[in-house]
C-alpha cells in the first residue's frame, strides 16, 4: 500500500515538473469555458442545469463559510442564519410583502406597478450582501472572547434564534405588516430583470445559470485575492496562534469581524439569489441541517483550500440533488429490491461523509499550508529536502 502510494506520488511529481508554468491559468480558462458551454448542451428547462444552478449556489455558500471556518478558523455552525437573512432581504425588497410601502427603484413592469418595495435585482443582491455583512458582525461580537467549539455553539444558537424569528414572523408586526411568511413563506417575488437578457423565468433557466456562474466567479476572485492579502494572512495567523498573532500587532476584533462579515455577505448574496430562483422564502428551509450540509462541503473539500471547497460543494450538492434522487433512484428496483434509493438518501450521505473522512481526513484537496503543518508539525524531526513535494503524505502515518 505504501509502495503504491509512493509510486503515485513520484508520478504526480514527475507530471507536475513537466507541465509548463502557465498550466494553472490554462486549466482555469478551460474550466470557465466548460462552465459557459455546459447549459447549451441541455434543454432550457433541463433538470441537470437546474441541479447545477443549485450546486453553484452551494459553491458560493461554501466559499463564504470557508472564509470563516477555513481561513479564520472560527467554527461557524449557524451559517443558515445568513442564508435566511439573505433570502428575507430578497423577500422584503423584491416582492409585494410590505404592501403598504410604494418603493420602486429601477424595476420593470409588472413589478413597477404593484405595491410593495421593489428594487432592481442587482441592487437587492448588493443590499443583501451589506445587510448580512452587518448581521455577521453582530453575531461575531459575542464570540470574540471565545475560542474553538464555544464559538460553534454561539453561532449555532444564533442560527436557531433566527429560525425561530423566521417561523414566528407572521405574529411579529412591523408597521402593522407581518415580518415574515413563516412556514407558508413569502411568495410572489419579482422575477429579476436585466437589460439585454430580459425577464428571468422558469421556462428558460439558462439566464439563472449564467447569473450564478458570474457570481461564483466574482466570489472566487475575491476569495483568492483576499486570501493572499494582508487581511487573509492575518486570518491565518489568528487561526494558527491567537496569542502570537495579537502580540505581533494583528487587531483581533477587526480581523475576526471582517471574517464574519465577508463570509456572511457571500452567504447572504447566495441566499438572495436562491430566494429569487425558487420564488419562495419558506421558514421551514432554514434548518440546522443546512449549516451542516455547507460545513460538510468545506471540510470534505479541505478546510481553507479554495479549490477543494469548490470541488466539495459541487460533489455533495450533485450527489444530494441529482445522483441519489434522479440517476440512481430506481437502481434497487432494477436489481429486484423493494425500495427506492431516496429512502436511504440521508444514510447514504452519512456513509459518504464517514468514509471520506476516515480515508482522507485532511479533505479532498488540502490547503498547501495546512498540509505542511500536518506533516511537519507533529513529531516529524527530519525535514524533507526543499523542493520535494509534501503532497500525499498522510497525517495518519506520522501521528500515533
Amino acid at each position: 500500500m505504501n509502495e503504491l502510494r509512493a509510486q503515485l506520488q513520484e508520478w504526480r511529481a514527475a507530471i507536475e515538473r513537466r507541465l509548463p508554468s502557465w498550466w494553472p491559468r490554462a486549466l482555469a480558462v478551460a474550466l470557465i469555458a466548460f462552465g459557459l458551454i455546459l447549459p447549451q448542451l441541455f434543454s432550457v428547462t433541463s433538470n441537470f442545469v437546474n441541479t447545477e444552478i443549485l450546486s453553484l449556489t452551494y459553491v458560493m455558500f461554501a466559499l463564504g463559510l470557508n472564509i470563516v471556518v477555513g481561513f479564520a478558523g472560527l467554527l461557524d455552525l449557524g451559517y443558515v442564519a445568513f442564508f435566511a437573512l439573505g433570502s428575507y432581504a430578497f423577500g422584503w425588497l423584491g416582492s409585494g410583502w410590505f404592501y403598504k410601502a410604494h418603493v420602486h427603484i429601477l424595476v420593470h413592469a409588472p413589478a413597477s406597478t404593484i405595491p410593495g418595495i421593489h428594487l432592481n435585482f442587482v441592487l437587492i443582491l448588493i443590499c443583501a450582501g451589506i445587510f448580512t455583512a452587518l448581521a455577521g458582525a453582530v453575531i461575531g461580537v459575542p464570540t470574540l472572547r471565545l475560542r474553538g467549539d464555544y464559538i460553534a455553539i454561539v453561532t449555532l444558537a444564533f442560527g436557531e434564534i433566527i429560525r425561530v424569528f423566521a417561523l414566528q414572523g407572521p405574529s411579529l408586526k412591523i408597521f402593522g405588516m407581518p415580518l415574515t411568511g413563516g412556514e407558508l413563506g413569502i411568495s410572489g417575488t419579482d422575477a429579476p430583470y436585466l437589460p439585454g437578457v430580459g425577464m428571468f423565468s422558469q421556462l428558460n433557466i439558462r439566464p439563472w445559470y449564467y447569473t450564478i456562474f458570474a457570481l461564483v466567479l466574482i466570489t472566487l476572485f475575491v476569495n483568492l485575492r483576499v486570501r493572499d492579502s494582508r487581511l487573509g494572512r492575518a486570518w491565518i495567523a489568528l487561526r494558527e496562534d491567537e496569542v502570537a498573532a495579537v502580540s505581533m500587532g494583528i487587531p483581533l476584533v477587526r480581523t475576526k469581524l471582517f471574517a464574519y462579515s465577508l463570509g456572511a455577505a457571500f452567504g447572504g448574496i447566495a441566499g438572495a439569489f436562491l430566494a429569487a430562483y425558487t420564488t419562495l422564502i419558506d421558514a421551514g428551509e432554514f434548518q440546522f441541517g443546512f449549516s451542516i450540509f455547507v460545513l460538510s462541503m468545506v471540510i470534505l473539500g479541505g478546510l481553507g483550500s479554495i479549490w477543494g471547497v469548490v470541488l466539495g460543494a459541487l460533489l455533495l450538492a450533485n450527489i444530494n440533488y441529482y445522483l441519489i434522487p434522479d440517476v440512481f433512484n430506481s437502481l434497487p428496483g432494477d436489481l429486484g429490491l423493494n425500495f427506492n434509493l431516496t429512502d436511504l438518501q440521508v444514510s447514504i450521505f452519512g456513509f459518504l461523509l464517514v468514509i471520506v473522512m476516515v480515508l482522507r481526513p485532511q479533505g479532498l484537496v488540502p490547503e498547501r499550508r495546512r498540509k505542511l503543518e500536518l506533516t511537519r508539525g507533529l513529531g516529524e524531526t527530519e525535514l524533507e529536502e526543499p523542493g520535494t513535494s509534501w503532497a500525499g503524505v498522510e497525517p495518519g502515518e506520522v501521528v500515533q
Partner: protein, 369 residues
C-alpha cells in the same frame, strides 16, 4: 508627544480595569440574577395579576404560587432527562474534545429500542404492576447496553481512526453517523411522531404538595436519573477506571505515559455516555408517550446547550445545566408558548457564554479563557 500620550494611556487602562471589574462581577452574579429573574418575574406575576384557575370555574383568577410550582416540578423532571443526555456530551467532550453530534440520535435509538423491547416482552396497558416492576428495569438495562454498545461502535469506526487528524474531521464523521442513525429511525418507525402505549399512566398523580401535583412521569424520570448520576459520580471519583478517565481528560499523552490504556478508557467513556443516553431514551418514551425519528436532534441541541451552560467537561455542571434548561423550557412552554422556547433557551446560552465562557460550574480550560 510621549509625555502627553502616556497619561491618556494609563487613564484608558484604568477605564479598562474598571470595565474588567464590572465584567467579572457580571460574570459571577449577573448570571445568577438572570436565572433567578425568570421564577421571580413569573412568581410576582402570578401573585399580583393572578392566572386563570379553571378548577374554580371560568373567569376566576388565582393568586398563588401553585402554577409556578407545577412549572418547577415538570421542569426538574424534564430536565433530569436532558441531564442524562448532557452527561454523555460532557464526558465525551471532556475526554476527546469532540462535539459528538451523533449522541442525540443514540438517545433516539434508545427510545425506539425501548419501545420495541417492551412490546417484545409483552408489556402493554393490561400488564400488572408486578409485570412492570420486573419488565421495565429489564428493558432499561437492555436499552442501556444497546446504546452503550452503539456508541462504542461509532467511536471505534468513526472517531478512533481520526485521532491524529485535523480537529474538525471527527466532527464530520459524527454528523455522518447522526444522519445514518436518523435514517435508521425513519425506516424503523416512519416519518411522523408515533404514540406509544402509556405503560405507567404517566399522568396519574402520586402526591400533591399544597396544590402542586407530582405525576408518575416526574417520579419516574427523577427516580431513574438520581441513582444513575450518583453511580456515575462514584465511578468517576472513586474507582481506578474513573481515575483513568480523569487523567485521560486532563492530558492523554501523559496518561499514556503513566500506563493508562487510553483507547480502552475512551471506549469506556463512550460506553457510559451511550448507556445514559439509552436510559434517557426509555424514560423519554414513557414520559412523553410519543417517539419520533427527529427527537434525538432536538434533544441533542438542548442537552448540548445544557452541558455548555453547566461548564463542559464538568459532570455536576451537566446535571445542573439540564435541570435549569428543563425548568426554563417548561416555564416558557406553559406561559409564552412552545414556539418561543428555542429563542429563550439559545438566547440564555449566548448570554451565559458571553458573561461566563467557562459555564456555570466550569473551570477555565484550554478552550475558554
Amino acid at each position: 508627544m510621549e509625555a502627553r500620550s502616556l497619561p491618556t494611556r494609563t487613564a484608558s487602562s484604568g477605564g479598562k480595569r474598571a470595565l474588567l471589574a464590572i465584567r467579572r462581577a457580571a460574570g459571577r452574579w449577573g448570571l445568577v440574577a438572570l436565572l433567578l429573574a425568570f421564577p421571580i418575574y413569573f412568581g410576582a406575576h402570578d401573585l399580583i395579576t393572578g392566572y386563570p384557575g379553571y378548577a374554580h370555574g371560568h373567569g376566576t383568577r388565582v393568586h398563588d404560587l401553585t402554577y409556578l410550582g407545577t412549572n418547577f416540578v415538570q421542569g426538574i423532571s424534564n430536565g433530569a432527562i436532558w441531564a442524562l443526555i448532557a452527561i454523555g456530551y460532557t464526558l465525551v467532550y471532556g475526554i476527546i474534545e469532540l462535539i459528538n453530534f451523533a449522541h442525540g440520535d443514540v438517545f433516539m435509538i434508545g427510545s425506539m429500542t425501548g419501545v420495541s423491547l417492551w412490546s417484545a416482552i409483552g408489556l402493554g396497558l393490561a400488564t400488572s404492576t408486578l409485570g412492570l416492576v420486573v419488565g421495565l428495569p429489564l428493558a432499561l438495562l437492555v436499552c442501556m447496553l444497546v446504546c452503550g454498545a452503539l456508541n462504542v461502535l461509532i467511536e471505534r469506526v468513526g472517531y478512533r481512526p481520526l485521532r491524529g487528524a485535523p480537529r474538525l474531521a471527527p466532527l464530520i464523521t459524527a454528523v455522518g453517523f447522526s444522519f445514518i442513525l436518523q435514517n435508521v429511525g425513519l425506516l424503523w418507525r416512519g416519518g411522523s411522531t408515533v404514540g406509544v402505549s402509556d405503560l405507567i399512566r404517566e399522568n396519574k398523580s402520586v402526591v400533591q404538595i399544597s396544590g402542586v401535583v407530582v405525576h408518575r412521569a416526574d417520579v419516574l424520570s427523577i427516580g431513574v436519573t438520581i441513582p444513575l448520576v450518583i453511580l456515575l459520580g462514584w465511578f468517576v471519583s472513586r474507582t481506578r477506571q474513573g481515575k483513568a478517565m480523569r487523567a485521560t481528560a486532563q492530558d492523554p499523552e501523559a496518561a499514556r505515559l503513566m500506563g493508562i490504556n487510553v483507547d480502552w478508557t475512551i471506549s469506556l467513556t463512550f460506553l457510559i455516555g451511550g448507556a445514559l443516553a439509552g436510559a434517557a431514551g426509555l424514560v423519554y418514551a414513557l414520559y412523553e408517550t410519543t417517539i419520533w425519528y427527529l427527537q434525538g436532534f432536538e434533544a441533542g441541541l438542548i442537552a448540548f446547550t445544557a452541558a455548555v451552560m453547566g461548564g463542559i467537561g464538568n459532570l455536576r455542571g451537566a446535571v445542573l445545566g439540564g435541570l435549569i434548561i428543563g425548568g426554563i423550557q417548561q416555564t416558557i412552554d406553559a406561559r409564552v408558548g412552545p414556539q418561543w422556547t428555542p429563542f429563550f433557551v439559545f438566547g440564555l446560552l449566548i448570554i451565559v457564554l458571553v458573561l461566563r465562557p467557562q459555564g456555570l460550574l466550569g473551570e477555565e480550560t484550554r478552550e475558554a479563557g
